[in-house]
Subunit: 363 residues, 2 copies
């Protein structure tokens, strides 16, 4: 490993799988070749080995420590992505004959509600579909008789984010895939938080569940083993073979976050990155943001060129600057800069300066 490897080669704004800290990738690459001088690769050890049990335990404890998870809550690293989480949710929390409430703020929120509708009755309490999900609905009321209220804290595709969490008369379940660990939240306010790893936690292949176990086992439904959170809790996240490599990377990423100062510190840096980029978008005559200002995401900054004819020139310019992963999702168009935890401030400074320079040339 030369030091040349540790500097940034590309400024990676990818929406996920996304940038991880260089030191995480270096350590993970090394462990694939040999784990901690044990004479074996991370890939070939049993998940029941003392080495892996300690990795899994450390990862789970770091989640608890960094987010301030209540003592009795359980942390799991499972497979299937948040997409399988959409189905885990009603299977474990929607009672037979009960009802679930959903806030429809984007594509993933819509998919979550759709999977729940296969299990029982669902109610969409509010939606921002009327304006292509460019804002977060407000002023809605959550039905008292719902088994839970499901929200998506950050909408990766549309670039909006819940800045505060609703007071709810019923348990709240949150898909936090694209902003978990990016800002302080109070996990005790949630019945469950779940999140695909491949944005702020690690590589693709692991999904975190943070669960209040007191609320489980009440649906009156026979749940298949692999979809039963109680089974996974009893198995200490190893009911079946876990995604060993992905969990190891999550552990490294959480260690990095702790060293960086934890969630409180990263939130400040994330705010700084987002402010810098939104300021450039707002002050630059060639660009505009696509979302309501009050609901702007600190994680996924979506913007467009006012003059589409300039697209090829702008694309050429940011690519030449060593930037990657900037094109927006097809349902929004334009650009999306994802500013996840591992993206350094200097990458955002570079993007802002490229935009400024572009405006000076073309404006």
């Amino acid at each position: 490993m030369t030091t040349a490897n540790t500097k940034i080669k590309k400024h990676n704004f990818s929406a996920g799988p996304s940038i991880l800290p260089q030191e995480v990738m270096q350590k993970a690459g090394k462990a694939v070749i040999e784990l901690d001088n044990i004479g074996l690769s991370l890939l070939e050890i049993s998940h029941r080995s003392k080495e892996f049990i300690s990795i899994m335990e450390k990862a789970r404890l770091l989640v608890k420590e960094l987010l301030g998870v209540p003592e009795n809550y359980q942390v799991l690293f499972l497979q299937g992505g948040a997409s399988l989480g959409f189905y885990f949710t009603p299977m474990n929390f929607l009672k037979e004959g009960g009802k679930a409430a959903y806030l429809k703020t984007g594509e993933w929120a819509t998919k979550a509600a759709k999977e729940a509708a296969l299990v029982g009755k669902t109610e969409i309490v509010a939606s921002s579909e009327d304006k292509n999900f460019n804002y977060i609905p407000k002023g809605y009321s959550i039905p008292n008789d719902a088994d839970y209220f499901h929200i998506t804290s950050n909408n990766t595709i549309f670039g909006t984010q819940l800045k505060t969490f609703p007071e709810s008369p019923v348990p709240v379940i949150c898909d936090m895939s694209s902003d978990i660990f990016s800002r302080k939240v109070d996990p005790s306010k949630f019945a469950m938080i779940y999140a695909g790893a491949q944005k702020n936690i690690g590589p693709a292949g692991a999904t975190i569940y943070i669960v209040n176990p007191d609320l489980l086992g009440k649906t009156g439904r026979k749940i298949p083993s692999m979809l039963d959170l109680q089974v996974h809790i009893k198995g200490e996240s190893m009911y079946n073979t876990p995604p060993v490599f992905a969990v190891y990377c999550c552990m490294l990423m959480l260690e990095w976050l702790k060293k960086t100062g934890g969630v409180e510190e990263i939130e400040k840096i994330n705010r700084q990155k987002a402010d810098l980029l939104y300021h450039e978008i707002d002050s630059n005559p060639l660009f505009k943001g696509t979302t309501e200002r009050t609901d702007r995401s600190d994680m996924n900054v979506t913007f467009v060129l006012l003059n589409e004819l300039l697209k090829d020139d702008f694309d050429k310019m940011w690519k030449e600057a060593g930037i990657s992963g900037l094109p927006g999702h097809r349902s929004v168009g334009g650009y999306r800069a994802s500013l996840y935890n591992a993206l350094p401030l200097e990458s955002v400074e570079l993007l802002a300066s490229v935009m400024k320079e572009f405006s000076q040339k073309k404006g």
Copy 2:
């Protein structure tokens, strides 16, 4: 990467996750640091990038080529392990009001049948539970009215293997987790083959499905998206973010297998490894095998010491020889040597010679 890294440090007989070829681990470790000189790690690229689409495509094609999969069959790399496959199976193939037939040859076969019973009617056509699963039942008949017949080709825990596949009047579905790619099979004889990667295909975190799509969509059941094989086929194995790293390693492993001479060649080597070890067990007065001779697995060789008092001495001896992963599963006891594709003949020769030497000392 020094050449020192490429020689075997430990002789790894682990039952899974298990040994992978040294060159696979070297290449995978390198890609985690940087993929093919693109300036980005494998972990931080989008699964929709041209780089990853080509990795997924290559992996799927290699499966088809190496196993001789019929043209119209589909190959998927999904998450959840074979344990989620136990539930995928009835959800996609067990018709509403229909029936599924199961052959109960071990722990995983039992779990597969249990998950199916949550979906519909199941019938156990035969079981070897009476003798702690130390043989494969024969002479049973498969009901004509079953929607499918489910078998487990190799029983990792108990060390038995189906040497031939049953002629069946109904579609056959096979959990091939612990012997896929180890010997020639005819995939056209199966409605579906599925297998957790972490034995013969790659690391933990990916599961292969080889499916005849003509048999899908006939259950009359609304299937949740993430459990619907038709959804995953339509999404070309990327309906949601796939386990990027695990799929990449599978591709490397399949490339290695192709270079090694393919399934036909590896089958010869596997047979040689198994013959060598079973010969030692049968001729050594201190040991005996735990399974019926006709049903012995070429992948997982289970054996015990006739005199349990010698255990500590034998354990000391193989550990000192650089052997790891030899203890048997708690439900069988004794020892289990897993001889998956990546385990070199020299590791088996070493184990046999340790056993011989032990017998000369203690016999």
